[in-house]
C-alpha cells in the first residue's frame, strides 16, 4: 500500500504542487495528467525516493520510504524518461544485467522469452545503440516485465512507441494491476486503461494550486 501524505514540491523558486494526498492499494492504478512542466516527473521521482519532497512524506505499507529504502526499492520498478540502457551492451545483456543487479534471478532463456514478448526477438544480440527510440522503450518495458515488483512507476511510458507498442504497454499495465500490483502512470495522452480501481490526478498547477484532483476515498 502506497500513501502520499500532504506532499508538496518546489523546483527552483516555483511551487509545483502542495497538499497532495492519495492512497493506493493492491490492484490500484493512478494516472497522473498535466501539461509539460506541471510536475509529473517531479512527483514520480519523489514517489521513487530519488527526490525529497518539500513537505509531506510517502509511505509504503505504513512506513516512510526514506527509512525503508532498500526494502522499498525491492518492490519498486521505475521507468524514467531515460531508458537506463547501456549502448555498449546488447539488448539481452542489458536486460540480464539490469535484472541481476536488482537481485532478480533471471536466466538467459527467460530473458530471451521476455524480449520476444516485447517484440525484440530478432534484436536480442544487437547492441542497444543500434536500436530505434521505440525499440529502446520496448527494452525498458521488458525490464518491467522481467521484474516481480509490485509497484510500477512509469514516466511517459508510451513515448516513441508505435501502435502495437502502445497496445503492449497498455496490456502490461492492465495485467499488472489486475494481478494485484500497483501502477502509477504519468502521461499527457489518454491511455484508456480499463482498470476498476483507477484514480486520476491532474497536476495542472497554477500558482501552486492543484486545479483538479480526485482523492482516493472517492473511489474506495
Amino acid at each position: 500500500m502506497l500513501e502520499a501524505i500532504n506532499l508538496g514540491c518546489i523546483r527552483g523558486d516555483r511551487r509545483l504542487f502542495r497538499d497532495l494526498n492519495f492512497k493506493l492499494e493492491a490492484g490500484h492504478l493512478l494516472e497522473l495528467r498535466g501539461r509539460n512542466g506541471g510536475g509529473k516527473t517531479s512527483l514520480l521521482r519523489i514517489l521513487c525516493g530519488l527526490a525529497t519532497p518539500a513537505e509531506g512524506e510517502v509511505r509504503w505499507n505504513g512506513k516512510n520510504i526514506r527509512r525503508l529504502r532498500e526494502e522499498y526499492f525491492a518492490s519498486l520498478s521505475y521507468v524514467a524518461h531515460l531508458n537506463g540502457l547501456k549502448d555498449e551492451l546488447t539488448a539481452l545483456e542489458n536486460l540480464l544485467v539490469a535484472e541481476r543487479i536488482s537481485g532478480h534471478q533471471q536466466t538467459r532463456q527467460q530473458a530471451g522469452d521476455t524480449l520476444s514478448r516485447v517484440g525484440l526477438a530478432n534484436q536480442r544480440h544487437l547492441p542497444a545503440r543500434f536500436l530505434s527510440a521505440g525499440q529502446r522503450r520496448r527494452l525498458a518495458l521488458a525490464r518491467l516485465l522481467a521484474s516481480d515488483s509490485s509497484l510500477w512507476i512509469l514516466d511517459e511510458i508510451v513515448t516513441s512507441l508505435d501502435d502495437s507498442g502502445v497496445n503492449l504497454a497498455r496490456d502490461l499495465i492492465t495485467d499488472h494491476v489486475k494481478s494485484g500490483g500497483i501502477a502509477i502512470v504519468a502521461t499527457h495522452q489518454k491511455l484508456n486503461l480499463s482498470v476498476a480501481n483507477s484514480q486520476v490526478i491532474n497536476l495542472s498547477s497554477e500558482e501552486g494550486k492543484i486545479l483538479f484532483a480526485i482523492p482516493a476515498d472517492q473511489f474506495a
Partner: protein
C-alpha cells in the same frame, strides 16, 4: 534480503562495469598510455644521470599515477548518469554503500591495476634496483585503491556540473597528498637504504580508512547529485 543474493548483486555490478570497460577499452588504454608517456618523458628530458633519475623516480611515478587516475575519474559515474542507469542503480535493493564499493572496485581494476603492472617496467628507465621496484609495486597496490575511493567522492559530487573535470581535480588532488607522501616515502626509503615498512603500514591504514568512509560519503554525494 538474504545475503547470497546480495553477494550475487555485488558480483554482477562488478561484472557489468568490467564488461562495459571491455567494450570501451580505448578509454582504458588512453589512461594507461598517458601514464607511460608522462613517466617516460622525465628520463628523456633530464638526460642519463643515474643518480638524479634515481632520486626523482618515486615522485615522478606517483605524480603520474595521480594524474592518470584523475583522467579516469570522470567515467566512474558520468556515463551512468547520462544514460539514466545511475538512477536505476540508486533504486536497486542493495545498500548503496555496496553498489558504490562495487563500482569503485571495478574502476580500480580497470584503470589502476594496469598502471601498477607497467610501473616496474617504467621504473627500469630510472635505474631503480630490484628491491626498490618491488616496494614501488607494493606501495602502488596499497595506494591506488585509495585514489579510486577518494576520487569517487569527487566524481559523485561534481556529477552533471559543467567543467566537472577541472573541479574534480581541484577537489580531489589535495586529498591525494597523504597517499603521495607515504607512497613516495616508501620508495625513497629503499633508495636511501632505510626501512620502507612504516610508510607501507601508513598507506595500509589510509586504505582501511578510505574503505570505511569513502563509499559512504560517495553514496551521500550521489543521492544529492541525482536529486
Amino acid at each position: 534480503m538474504n545475503s547470497p543474493s546480495m553477494v550475487s548483486m555485488f558480483r554482477w555490478m562488478i561484472w557489468r562495469d568490467l564488461l562495459l570497460a571491455w567494450r570501451r577499452r580505448m578509454d582504458v588504454l588512453a589512461t594507461l598510455f598517458f601514464f607511460i608517456i608522462v613517466v617516460s618523458l622525465f628520463p628523456l628530458g633530464i638526460g642519463p644521470e643515474p643518480q638524479l633519475l634515481r632520486t626523482i623516480a618515486p615522485g615522478v611515478v606517483w605524480v603520474a599515477a595521480l594524474l592518470a587516475s584523475m583522467l579516469a575519474l570522470g567515467r566512474t559515474f558520468g556515463n551512468d548518469y547520462q544514460d539514466g542507469t545511475l538512477e536505476q542503480l540508486l533504486l536497486t535493493p542493495q545498500p548503496l554503500y555496496l553498489t558504490v564499493l562495487a563500482k569503485v572496485l571495478a574502476q580500480w581494476i580497470v584503470s589502476e591495476v594496469p598502471l601498477v603492472i607497467v610501473a616496474p617496467v617504467l621504473g627500469l628507465q630510472f635505474g631503480l634496483s630490484q628491491n626498490t621496484l618491488w616496494i614501488m609495486t607494493v606501495s602502488l597496490l596499497l595506494g591506488t585503491p585509495v585514489l579510486s575511493l577518494i576520487g569517487s567522492i569527487g566524481a559523485a559530487l561534481t556529477l552533471g556540473l559543467r567543467a566537472a573535470n577541472v573541479l574534480v581535480a581541484l577537489l580531489v588532488l589535495p586529498l591525494f597528498i597523504p597517499v603521495l607522501i607515504f607512497g613516495t616515502g616508501a620508495i625513497e626509503a629503499t633508495v636511501t637504504g632505510t626501512d620502507p615498512q612504516p610508510y607501507l603500514l601508513l598507506l595500509g591504514a589510509t586504505l582501511v580508512l578510505a574503505l570505511a568512509f569513502a563509499p559512504w560519503a560517495t553514496s551521500a554525494a550521489l543521492r544529492i547529485s541525482v536529486e
